[in-house]
Structures are given as structure tokens and as C-alpha cells.
Amino acid sequence: MASRLSRIWPTLSRVRLSAALGSRCVSQTPKSSASGAAVATDLQPVSPAAQDSHGHAEVSPFEKNPDFHGFHHHDSFVDEWNMKLAFFFGISVAIVIGGTFIHYLPDHGMRHWARREAERLIKQRESEGLPLMTENFYDPSTIVLPSSGEE
């Protein structure tokens, strides 16, 4: 049943699609970019201003400047320098130098110190025979409680 369906389905789908798309099934012509754009915009209509402002409908910036980096559409000098500075400050300065700075931060949050101090105190208290930690943080005799008669 499934194998029969899988044989019929491609033809079925093609028939349905071609009926729906009509002449647009012949989609290899360059003209189809217009109809392609129309299909994309059926659900989300694009204002002409947006199309013009992005310039995608007209000509790709890669045609004028094959090394287009995405920063500046018309001036390749600015585009290239923007790319260089963005990479330099973003990667070389911020990530590499910043990362090195963070890596070599001394004992961040004093966690290594806390570990060493704890080990030192444990060794000291064990050698003196004292308990490792007293149950009461505060000396109970210094705590003044209200008498049970009051609120």
C-alpha cells in the first residue's frame, strides 16, 4: 500500500503543484526572480520602499564588488576597512587580549585561597586536637533572648 502510494505520489504532487503554480512551474528563466519575489511576499507584502532600499531586487552588491564584506554597499574602501577594524577590535582585542586577561586573573573570587585556607585550618586543628568546627557560630552566652513572657 505504501509502496504503491510512493509510486503515485510524485506524479500526484507534480500535477497538483503545476496546477497551482501554473506557468510558474517553468521556473528556470531569470524572469522568475520577479515571480519568486511575489511568492515570497504573498504572506508578507514587501513595500516597494524596502525592496529599493535594500537593492536586492536590482543588483547584488557582489557584482560591483566581488569582495563585498557586508559593511558598506557602495564604497569598497570603507567596506574593507570596516571589516578589518571590526575583526581587529572584535577578535584580536576583545576576545584574544580580553580572554588572556581573564585567564590570568589572580584567584578569581578567592576560591583557591579559600581551599588552601580550609586545608591549612584542618591540618592545624587536627594537630591540636580541636574539633574541626564548633557547632555554634556565635558564643551562646552572648545571645540575649527576650523572656518567654513577652511577645
Binding site: 521556473s27 522568475s32 526572480s33 515571480s35 519568486g36 511568492v39 515570497a40 511576499t41 504572506l43 508578507q44 514587501v46 524596502a50 525592496q51 532600499s53 535594500h54 537593492g55 536586492h56 547584488s60 552588491p61 557582489f62 563585498f68 564584506h69 557586508g70 559593511f71 558598506h72 554597499h73 564604497d75 570603507v78 576597512w81 570596516n82 571589516m83 577594524l85 571590526a86 575583526f87 577590535f89 572584535g90 577578535i91 582585542v93 576583545a94 576576545i95 587580549i97 580580553g98 580572554g99 586577561f101 581573564i102 585567564h103 586573573l105 578569581h108 573570587g109 578567592m110 576560591r111 585561597w113 579559600a114
Partner: protein, 460 residues
């Protein structure tokens, strides 16, 4: 603190006095330098308390990761907006970057504030540039509705907060966080006090957002331009989490009982919003609901008030900020090429953009909390502390994790795999700028695997 704040304020003359040709180059470089300097906040000179302080601003282990995230995000926003804002008239471009820079200034002052009223003022002040960005530069007519929802949901929550803060000032005599952390616990035993408790937290819960009051978020995220979505997802939501963590110190012991409904709402929200994600056709809407889902976990972690909960919340906030922003950037690259957010129309992109498929893959893996990335670590800590609070929560959080993996995979498969549609004829290749943007988002997430103690906060 000032060594970052003054350069940020000097961004304004930079924006308005640079020649139009070099505007984006100089602002990108300037903001990246600010981001590099902000890394100096990570050098803590004391083990638990406040550092880098002046009279009004200070940093502590909770605010430092969020501050660094904020400073890191401004250059990323500028990089992301460059393509779609470039064709506009030069003064409008300058206004746009001015709005981003002013957001940055307010956010630095908000996270660095030591006085809660200052935090409140900056919290409110961030609404204005965001509202302008959404309503002026959004792409569809729904942006006006989105702006309204965004503004009034947050305002409705924060007016009770103002009253609550003034009441607190009356009763304790100070609103400085440095002092309040050592004050005596308040006598909270009447209905009025419970309403005060709610007033303190509602604003932040709306901002996070908590599930019941989350309606503004999908609208605002979807209608905003890419920089607006980035800053909303990455930082503004974290303002809510940060505010909650600051207020929690004073709200004991009422929180033990009163937090109950909010924890349940948050957990239920993880599942509900995750399930909504599985049914989304709009890519940005999917990412927005995924933000609500992750933030639900953060809210639950904060309301539990244990050290693991707080640490997990901070870690998840930072990691989610970077990853969510990365996903919005990726969605924007698809949007700029097809002018549609519908996922089915930009499908099978792996065939035509193979390198970008790697970014999509990494970002989606990070979103579904793949080990060893910090997303998972934060989620695990929150799930563990919730389990300790009540073993039944593992049902909700476990199901939530499953659904998160489900919709992240769904997003990846829908956009990358499958047949490339026939109507896609000519899409521009991926720009160097877009690759750099994704790298600058995801490299910090990967680097944080190596040194997570930067994010652990002061509880661990």
C-alpha cells in the same frame, strides 16, 4: 565604573560628529573598545562584596556578568543593524545608533546602581529607546500594537514597584543595596505586607516574563528590528531577573509561601511556551517563545532562593542572552534575504549556505542546552534545586527540557534541512559581517565553558 560609562557617553559625540562614510566603522570600533575595557570589571578585588564603586554605582558578582554582557552586546547590535539601516538618510542612521547607545548607558547605570530607586529609574528609562526602536523601525503595521503591549505591560507592573520602594524607604530609611543586605529582617505579617511583597516583584516578573504576563514579549520581539530583538532578548529580560534577585534579599520570610503560585506559573510556562514553539510558523516568534521558556526556568530558580538556584539563574541568563541574540541574528539574515519570517519559505538553507548551517547548528545546540555549554549547566543547577524543593517539579522541568530539545531541533530542521524551495532564485551569499556577528556571539559562550566561575555569582 566610570572608565566604561564615560566612553559610552562619549559615543554620542562620536555618532553625531563622524563623517557619514565612517559612521558605522567608528561606532563599531568604539563600542568594541568599550566592551574590551568592560572586561576589567571581572577583576574582583574582594571575595564577595562590592567593587569598582563610586558614590552611586558599584559592581558585585551578580551584576558584573550582566554588565559585561550588556557592553558586549552593543557592538553586536551595531554590526547586525548595519545592513538594513545603511540605506536610510544619514541623520536617521545616527538617531538609530544614538538610541542603541542610550540604551547601553541606561543599562550600565541600571546594573551598576547601588540605590534601588536609581535602578528603578534606569529600568524605566530603558523602555523609551526600546519603544522608539520597535515602533519607528519595526517592519510591519503590528509594531504599534507591539509597542503598546510592551510599554503598558511593563508600566502596569512597575507602578506598584515604585509605591513598594517608597514604602520600603519609609520603613527602613534607606534603599541602598549596600546597607539593605545587612538590615534586620522586616516584620511581614499582614495582608498589606503581602501586597507589598507582590508589588516588589510583579514588575520584574512581567519583565522576565512570567508565563501569565508574557504576552508582550512575542509581539515586541517579532516586530522589533534585529537590534531591538537582540537587546530585548539578551539584556532587557535579564533586568527582570536581576531586579528580582536584588529584591529577594529583603522579602524573606514571606517568600516561602507567597512564591508558590509564581513558581508553579513559571514551571507551567516552560511547558506551555515550549509547546507553542513546536507549532510556530514564524521564526522570530519561535525564538521569542523559547526566550519565555528559558526565562521561566530562571524565574523559578530565583524564587526558590537557594544558592544553587541563584547561581543557576545567573548562568542561564548570561548563556541564554548570548544564544538567543545569536538566533535572532540568524533569523534576521534569513529575513533580510527573503523578507519573510515564515520558516517554510526559507527552508533547506544548508544546501545554499553550508557555512551558515554550522552557525545555525551551533546556536540551536546551545539553545537546547547541550553539554558542556553553560546553558546546560545553568538549567541543571536550577532543575536540581527545584527537585530539592519538591521532587514533583522534576516532571515539569524534565518535560520542559524534552520540549526545548524538540523545538530547537524543529527550528534547525525546518530552516536548514529539507528541500530548498523552488521560488528561491537568487539569495546573496553570507556576508563576512554576518559570519563575524555569529562568531562574536558564540565564541564567548564556548569560552565560558572554560571559566564558568565568572558567572557563578556570590552564592557559590
Amino acid at each position: 565604573m566610570l572608565k566604561v560609562l564615560i566612553p559610552t557617553i562619549m559615543l554620542f559625540p562620536t555618532i553625531w560628529l563622524t563623517s557619514p562614510k565612517w559612521l558605522w566603522t567608528t561606532t563599531t570600533a568604539h563600542s568594541l573598545l568599550i566592551a574590551s575595557i568592560s572586561l576589567m570589571w571581572l577583576k574582583w578585588t574582594s571575595e564577595a562584596g562590592w567593587t569598582s564603586s563610586n558614590t552611586y554605582l558599584a559592581t558585585d558578582p551578580l551584576s558584573t556578568p550582566l554588565l559585561v554582557l550588556t557592553c558586549w552586546l552593543l557592538p553586536l547590535m551595531i554590526l547586525a543593524s548595519q545592513n538594513h539601516i545603511n540605506p536610510e538618510p544619514i541623520n536617521r542612521q545616527r538617531s538609530y545608533i544614538t538610541l542603541l547607545a542610550s540604551l547601553q548607558t541606561f543599562l550600565i547605570m541600571a546594573f551598576g546602581a547601588t540605590e534601588i530607586i536609581m535602578f528603578y529609574i534606569m529600568f524605566e528609562a530603558t523602555l523609551i529607546p526600546t519603544l522608539i526602536i520597535i515602533t519607528r523601525w519595526g517592519n510591519q503595521a503590528e509594531r504599534l500594537n507591539a509597542g503598546t503591549y510592551f510599554l503598558f505591560y511593563t508600566l502596569a507592573g512597575s507602578l506598584p514597584l515604585l509605591v513598594a520602594l517608597l514604602l520600603l524607604q519609609q520603613s527602613t530609611g534607606t534603599l541602598s543595596m549596600l546597607v539593605l543586605q545587612y538590615s534586620q529582617p522586616l516584620q511581614l505579617n499582614s495582608w498589606g505586607h503581602m501586597i507589598w511583597w507582590a508589588g516588589c516583584l510583579i514588575a520584574f516578573l512581567v519583565k522576565m516574563p512570567l508565563y501569565g504576563v508574557h504576552l508582550w514579549l512575542p509581539k515586541a520581539h517579532v516586530e522589533a528590528p534585529v537590534a531591538g530583538s537582540m537587546v530585548l532578548a539578551a539584556v532587557l529580560l535579564k533586568l527582570g531577573g536581576y531586579g528580582m534577585m536584588r529584591m529577594m534579599i529583603m522579602l524573606d520570610p514571606l517568600s516561602k509561601e507567597l512564591a508558590y503560585p509564581f513558581i508553579i506559573l513559571a514551571l507551567w510556562g516552560i511547558i506551555m511556551t515550549g509547546s507553542i514553539c513546536l507549532r510556530q510558523t514564524d521564526l522570530k516568534s519561535l525564538i521569542a517563545y523559547s526566550s519565555v521558556s528559558h526565562m521561566g526556568l530562571v524565574a523559578a530558580g530565583i524564587l526558590i532562593q537557594t544558592p544553587w538556584g541563584f547561581s543557576g539563574a545567573i548562568i542561564l541568563m548570561i548563556a541564554h542572552g548570548l544564544v538567543s541574540s545569536a538566533l535572532f541574528c540568524l533569523a534576521n539574515t534569513a529575513y533580510e534575504r527573503t523578507h519573510s519570517r515564515t520558516m517554510m519559505l526559507a527552508r533547506g538553507l544548508q544546501m545554499i549556505f553550508p557555512l551558515t548551517a554550522m552557525w545555525w547548528f551551533t546556536a540551536n545546540l546551545a539553545n537546547l542546552a547541550l553539554p558542556p555549554l553553560p546553558n546546560l549547566m545553568g538549567e541543571l543547577m536550577i532543575i536540581t534545586t527545584l527537585f530539592n524543593w519538591s521532587p514533583w517539579t522534576i516532571l515539569l522541568t524534565g518535560l520542559g527540557t524534552l520540549i526545548t530539545a524538540g523545538y530547537s531541533l524543529y527550528m534547525f530542521l525546518m530552516t536548514q534541512r529539507g528541500p530548498t524551495p523552488n521560488h528561491i532564485m537568487g539569495l546573496q551569499p553570507f556576508h563576512t559581517r554576518e559570519h563575524l556577528l555569529m562568531a562574536l556571539h558564540l565564541i564567548p559562550v564556548i569560552l565560558l565553558v572554560a571559566k564558568p566561575e565568572l558567572m557563578w555569582g556570590w552564592c557559590y
